[in-house]
Symmetry: C2
Subunit: 390 residues, 2 copies
Amino acid sequence: PARIPHHHRGILGYCKALGVPLEVQVNENRAALLQASTGPVPQRRVQADLRGLIAELAAKGLERGTLEAPLDEPDLEALRAMLRRFGALGADHRYHGSSRAGWDRPPGAGPEAPRALPPLDARLLLEPTLWAGAAFTEGVDYAATMLQPVGGMDRIAAALATALGEALVPGAEVVSLRRGEAGARVRWRGADGMREETAAQVLITLPAPLLARLDTDLPEARRAGLAALHYSSAAKLAFHCARRFWEEDHAIYGGISWTPGEATQLWYPSHGFHAEGGILTGAYIWDDDLGERFAARGPAGRAAAIAADGEALHPGLGREVSAPVSVAWSRMPRAGGAWAEWTTAQRRDLYPLLRSPEGPYHFAGEYLSWLTGWQEGAVLSAWNALEGMA
Amino acid sequence: PARIPHHHRGILGYCKALGVPLEVQVNENRAALLQASTGPVPQRRVQADLRGLIAELAAKGLERGTLEAPLDEPDLEALRAMLRRFGALGADHRYHGSSRAGWDRPPGAGPEAPRALPPLDARLLLEPTLWAGAAFTEGVDYAATMLQPVGGMDRIAAALATALGEALVPGAEVVSLRRGEAGARVRWRGADGMREETAAQVLITLPAPLLARLDTDLPEARRAGLAALHYSSAAKLAFHCARRFWEEDHAIYGGISWTPGEATQLWYPSHGFHAEGGILTGAYIWDDDLGERFAARGPAGRAAAIAADGEALHPGLGREVSAPVSVAWSRMPRAGGAWAEWTTAQRRDLYPLLRSPEGPYHFAGEYLSWLTGWQEGAVLSAWNALEGMA
């Protein structure tokens, strides 16, 4: 994960308790772009024109008597006033454009009044990249305020490791689990060869695909269920840029641009504004098919494909980016995928089985929560499992 | 000003050139509150339910044939899909509530699926504090990304002062301006008594109310115009809080809550998250009548009135706040008001006069721009005046 919603109290509580400083992650930026068929459009323009179009449609509906329960005149006027403000409509309840969309002639210190951009062709607003991109940060886990640890997400893991001290054995790869009379026997490969330990209870936090493949004596139904759980093929690619061209040329400070291309999302850094260079996340791919296509390319092929998508959003981007680094979670030996994606049927039939303890074995991880893919899901799942072990 | 929009390139350019570090100012926070007649409501809930209500009205309108230019079926379905996503509507194009509004039963690691809050009574959404507060950050100068200098807005002035060095004479109060053969004579009161200097050109950046009252030989029409320009009676009050109760108790990280009370806005700090204490801006009053009422109270009266408004948003706030500090710009001897507010007629009849030079006199300030109240307006006005002096 690259961000923390403000209401994920579990992981934020660890940040506070462990002294991991936080800063704002800019998830929504009205200067960021949405890739339309005609070229990139700033989000502010899409947002404003969508609101104008929809509020106008709603106002027209009122004129045709769409209300099921008729309102008295004061309430009707309150509703109209709300629609005018919502959509920046004129007194005629029609949308004629708004400064919310940005400026055709920006406000300055000259003699002439500023002039707002005219509305976009409504047909353009029907392109899914535009309306889906514009609605993205309405989601409860994507809406402001979004946070990030200063210095990167691994500052949380590092702080946890420090707090755990010698209780944590880094680099220990578990190779088998067996039940015994005194609990369970865990064999692992450490820096000094094979080791094993027996414990009355074992909390297993491996991702489902890895646990499914591990040498265990878990019942066949559970192992089949773990293997059946789909994990996302999400992927990311980042570039180094010697120049923050997004800030210098476009006044883009953080946020996300969206493209229908393979790159899907282009993330601008939310920190280090006005620094000399910066890291640009050139791609954050969610779709499984796109993620697999990306994963199958070699490093150079990945960078070339993503730079081409970025070039459409930012002409000249290809000359600005260097040192690509990418990760396709479906190819990560220690992950087996980015996050669990339950089907409705699996939530009903499989989730109760996978979240229940099995003799000495207890289970936790983001996949055993309703917040898959989020650190908060892993935290809540761990707390839930610990209650069962008490 | 307390914030800088990302597209105010002039003032941001100074920040970059002078090395003033920037951080994100959280202007919109869906966890912040809107004070309804029934009590405070989180903005996420108002935002989601407004979008749902309006998208549903628009969809109903489509069913009644409100489109002036009929769409073919693929476009109509694209429009319906857009409305569903915009408002989080069901497949029936009706709004049944959405997780965007927040959770009745939050997602955790338990057996039960999360459950979204039910929609608010639509009548509640017609209260202006709710719909106006929810639309606030749609404004082009209020939409993300918003920025602030690390350490406070005066870091810009301090950096400018450092860069100017001895060219800047601090504490010099101009007492009169007179035209002469060689330009203009400026008399001022400095640390070592009265001084005067003659210059071929003088750039006057005093706020209009102060310049109107100054002993000058400006023509009567200009002085009358300067005096006629209305300046806002905006005001602010801040408290110290030993505990960041807004973060600890409500997961509010930055942003603004709105109340119909005198306090108008309550600002939470956008920096220092999880620190032990913090500064809470208990009031940011915009309305002139409310601002004058606030200004007329004594310091204790101001704090008591604002704490009472805050108590309605955050029951118990009164026990958390201390050390109130307030400013009413209409009472500030060096300001004469918060910012200029032009009428349409004044923009037409007076603005051309006030922005034009007068012999050796040139004029600049936020009031001589279309961005009154913003540092950017003052910067652009200064650049404009300097062009006339070249």
